[in-house]
C-alpha cells in the first residue's frame, strides 16, 4: 500500500506502473514518486530516463492506462494511482 505525503506545499504521489509486453524486461512493475500535478507525458519522460531509453524508443510509441481507461499524455496525475504501460500491440 502506498502513502501520499506532503513536504511543505509539495504533495508527493506514488505511481505504480505495471509492465506489459516488451517492457516486462524491466520486471512486473515499478514505483515512481512524483510531485502531484505531473502529467502522464512527464511520467513517461521520467521512465525513459530511468530506463536509459532513447527519445525515439519504445516509450515514445507506448500509452498509459488507468483502470480500464487509456490516458492521453496531457492527463494530470493528482493522487496515488496504479497505471499500466502499454507498448504497441499485436494480438490475434
Amino acid at each position: 500500500m502506498s502513502d501520499t505525503s506532503d513536504a511543505g506545499d509539495l504533495k508527493i504521489i506514488t505511481v505504480d506502473v505495471r509492465f506489459f509486453g516488451a517492457f516486462r524486461k524491466y520486471g512486473e512493475e515499478t514505483c515512481v514518486m512524483l510531485p502531484a500535478g505531473y502529467t502522464v507525458g512527464e511520467l513517461k519522460k521520467q521512465l525513459r530516463i530511468d530506463f536509459s531509453e532513447p527519445e525515439s524508443g519504445l516509450l515514445a510509441d507506448s500509452v498509459m492506462a488507468g483502470g480500464n481507461r487509456f490516458l492521453s499524455d496531457d492527463e494530470v496525475l493528482t493522487e496515488d494511482v496504479e497505471l499500466a504501460l502499454l507498448p504497441p500491440v499485436c494480438g490475434g
Partner: protein
C-alpha cells in the same frame, strides 16, 4: 439499444473452444455463421518458431473487444458476435483467437468477422513473445495505441 446480449468476449488461459463460440452465436433467425480461428504458425519471417506467449491486459482487452463488437453490431445490426483470445503460452498449432459471427445471411458474417479481427489486431492490448528452437525469444513489434483511438 446496444444489443449487448448479442455479444460475448472472453480472455481465457484454457484451450479455446470452437463449439462454445458457435453455440453462443447460434440463433434460429441466423442462416449463416462465419468462424475465424487464429493459430500459432511454425515460422515467422523465415525463422522457425516453437511457440508464442500471449501477454494481455485482461480488463482493457475485454473492454476493447466489447467496444469492437458493439461497433460491429452498429454496422451489421442483425449479427451475433463471439470473441475469445488466449492468454499464456501456446505451442505451434495452438489456437490463439476464435471469432464467430452469425447473421441472417452470409455476406454480413464475412464482413463483420473480418472487421473484428482487423480491429482486434490494431486495438486490443495483446502482445506476442515468440519462442525459437535455440531457446531465445523476442517480443514482436505492433500497432501503437493512442488514447484518442482507443477511447472510440
Amino acid at each position: 439499444m446496444t444489443g449487448q446480449e448479442n455479444i460475448k468476449v472472453e480472455i481465457l488461459d484454457k484451450p479455446l473452444c470452437i463449439e462454445t463460440a458457435c453455440a453462443f452465436v447460434d440463433d434460429p433467425a441466423c442462416g449463416a455463421t462465419d468462424v475465424f480461428i487464429g493459430r500459432v504458425r511454425n515460422t515467422h519471417e523465415g525463422q522457425d518458431v516453437g511457440g508464442i506467449t500471449y501477454d494481455i491486459h485482461t480488463g482493457l482487452a475485454e473492454k476493447t473487444l466489447r467496444d469492437i463488437c458493439t461497433e460491429t453490431l452498429s454496422r451489421w445490426p442483425e449479427t451475433r458476435c463471439y470473441v475469445a483470445h488466449y492468454k499464456g503460452e501456446l505451442p505451434v498449432g495452438g489456437i490463439s483467437v476464435i471469432i464467430a459471427v452469425a447473421a441472417p445471411h452470409r455476406a454480413e458474417t464475412f464482413e463483420a468477422c473480418r472487421y473484428i479481427i482487423e480491429e482486434l489486431k490494431k486495438r486490443a492490448p495483446v502482445w506476442k513473445q515468440e519462442h525459437y528452437p535455440d531457446g531465445k525469444s523476442a517480443w514482436l513489434p505492433g500497432h501503437a495505441l493512442t488514447a484518442e483511438r482507443s477511447a472510440s
